[in-house]
């Protein structure tokens, strides 16, 4: 009849514990993210690719720009991937070690992707938050500018810029940064419109906080979830973008290389029978893009309150 006293106390204890250990929004998201198997596998894959780009150089037996002249012309049978010769991924048609080149290319592609996304996110978020917060005519003009810029095919303008001002990594970043913040600005503005009517913003306005401070301290932190999601989804797009330019031969310059440039070289020589020259860069390209997309999807499911 009477419930076990110890058990009741145990339940009460655990209830208290549960109360004390309230979970934050971020902890919730973390739990949801790690329940998503595809996202976790992708995250591990991504860590692997990053480790390859960072530490692969230590494993390479050759420098990326070292040319083995004895291999040129006989690459199809002498440059085969093998552990014994130290060319783990074989050599390319110029007698260079493909392993070292792939390490370098992966590193540059990842760097371009991350920095490009970072620039886009910072500029886009601030722009969108400002437009959304001020509203009215300011908002109208600012977003109209975004509309106008969006309808220009920027790839062509970027190529024009690369031709005129010379090819350099800096121009590439500038061009990518110029294009990619537009989407982010729209998303940030949409979110800001709902946030700015919340009570805490009203309090901030009532206590006389300056608008610039309200945007930076009160609005941007609340955009963080969605910003992280789109940043993750932007990185693979940036990598594709850079690869596109490099594929045309207008991006990274020799002897430096990127995955796009490597795929380009590989696709030109695959007719001679050494498929490894396209296979390895292609594998790392596809793996990276794949992983980023899945991690981004996982983050969106974890952080986006709409789909809960």
């Amino acid at each position: 009849m009477f419930p076990n006293r110890a058990a009741v106390e145990g339940v009460a204890d655990s209830m208290q514990l549960a109360e004390v250990k309230g979970r934050s929004l971020w902890a919730d998201a973390r739990i949801r993210f790690f329940r998503n198997r595809a996202a976790v596998i992708s995250l591990i894959m991504l860590a692997g690719v990053a480790a390859f780009a960072l530490f692969g150089g230590a494993l390479a037996q050759y420098e990326g720009d070292y040319v083995d002249f004895s291999l040129i012309g006989s690459n199809a049978y002498l440059g085969v991937p093998s552990i014994e010769t130290g060319h783990y991924f074989g050599t390319d048609s110029n007698g260079r070690d493909l392993f070292a080149r792939t390490v370098q290319g992966t590193g540059i592609s990842l760097m371009v992707g991350v920095i490009g996304a970072l620039v886009a996110v910072i500029v886009g978020t601030l722009y969108g938050a400002t437009a959304g917060y001020y509203g009215g005519r300011v908002d109208g003009i600012m977003m109209r500018i975004v509309d106008v810029l969006m309808s220009i095919p920027f790839m062509f303008v970027l190529i024009l810029m690369l031709v005129i001002f010379g090819r350099s990594i800096f121009m590439l970043f500038l061009g990518i940064g110029l294009i990619s913040w537009l989407d982010m600005a729209r998303i940030a503005r949409g979110q800001t419109l709902t946030i700015k009517n919340k009570e805490f913003v009203e309090v901030a306005v009532a206590t006389g906080v300056r608008p610039s401070k309200i945007i930076l301290r009160h609005i941007v932190p609340n955009l963080l979830g969605i910003v992280i999601v789109y940043a993750t989804l932007l990185v693979p797009n940036m990598i594709i973008f850079e690869s596109f330019i490099s594929f045309l031969g207008l991006g990274v310059q020799e002897p430096a290389t990127s995955l796009g440039a490597l795929i380009n070289e590989g696709s030109r020589t695959m007719q001679f029978g050494y498929y490894w020259q396209i296979a390895f860069p292609l594998f790392f390209f596809v793996a990276t893009i794949f992983a980023f997309f899945f991690v981004g999807d996982g983050l969106r499911d974890a952080l986006d309150p709409k789909d809960r």
Binding site: F156, I164, P236, L248, I289
Partner: protein, 307 residues
């Protein structure tokens, strides 16, 4: 409706002007003229040539001349590289090619993408659905410059079924690989958007009402669900168009189809500014016009938009 179109045109025209002026300023800012070669020309000859191309005039006069001739006569001036041709000749040669395979790619991407998405949504959680989702995920990581070499490897080098490049007046064998390479990733995106949009629409009240009053499923889908489903797809078509026109550069380079992309890249390496500018402006104009058409279609289909 008319005032809506007029208002959209009022935005489109300044956009175009900005594009023209922007690319002219970029070109003007370029260090070194198109006639600076390794063997310097005698100054009198150089002055003559520059006078012929109007390069000796002050900046504002050049820009006004350029804008006026582009806007009023669609004249992009002479090419700096091909001695006997104007930019218009170059475009007239390459553009029909790009238009042909671009059109087919667009048709393929939209029809297959929409059908796949609708089929996946109606038969949710069956093999059709899994197939469609699998294809759209797979195609996302295969942009056109990855797709093109893979296609070439399989169909030309291994199987030997299709020619590896060229145009040959647009025979169908020469069209297949460019169209597949260009359309795949957009087809995948369209399928994904259609699927999620259709799923959302199928859960709404008016669809339930339509089913409750005993309409056959086929009629519910076509008469009621299709219209709201297609709206997000429609707004994706603008970016897809830009992507395809950009991708055509890869297609031209890779399959040697001889479209404007090939001229664009060649000119980029030869610093043939007038051709680059001409193609940039042409592509920009097309994009803006296309977006205009999409906006008008959207306003026409969506009853919630008041104009």
């Amino acid at each position: 409706m008319l005032s809506f179109i007029v208002r959209r045109l009022a935005v489109a025209i300044p956009t175009l002007l900005i594009l023209v002026v922007l690319s002219f300023i970029l070109m003007y800012a370029a260090p070194g003229g198109p006639f600076n070669s390794e063997r310097p020309l005698p100054p009198e000859v150089l002055a003559n040539i520059e006078a012929k191309y109007g390069l000796d005039q002050p900046f504002w006069k050049q820009i006004v001349n350029y804008v006026v001739s582009v806007v009023t006569q669609f004249d992009f001036g002479p090419s700096f590289q091909y001695k006997d041709r104007t930019v218009n000749d170059v475009i007239a040669q390459g553009f029909p090619v790009t238009l042909t395979y671009g059109f087919w790619s667009f048709v393929v991407a939209v029809t297959i993408g929409v059908s796949l998405g609708v089929a996946a949504a109606i038969k949710q959680n069956t093999w059709i659905d899994y197939f469609a989702v699998g294809v759209s995920i797979g195609a996302q990581v295969l942009p056109n410059f990855v797709m093109a070499p893979i296609l070439l490897l399989v169909f030309t080098l291994w199987l030997g079924w299709l020619p590896g490049g060229g145009w040959n007046g647009g025979q169908w064998q020469f069209l297949i690989m460019p169209v597949i390479a260009l359309s795949t990733s957009y087809m995948a995106s369209i399928a994904r958007i259609t699927r999620s949009s259709m799923l959302e629409v199928l859960n709404t009240n008016f669809i339930r009402t339509a089913q409750a009053k005993g309409l056959p499923m086929r009629r519910v889908i076509w008469r009621h669900a299709m219209k709201p489903t297609i709206l997000p797809v429609l707004s994706y078509l603008g970016p897809a168009f830009v992507g395809m026109i950009t991708g055509s550069v890869i297609i031209d380079v890779f399959f040697s189809t001889g479209g404007i992309g090939q001229f664009f890249v060649n000119s980029a390496f030869n610093r043939d500014y007038s051709v680059i500018m001409g193609i940039t402006i042409l592509v920009g104009t097309l994009t803006i016009l296309f977006n205009l058409v999409v906006d008008i279609l959207y306003a026409w289909i969506d009853p919630k938009i008041r104009y």
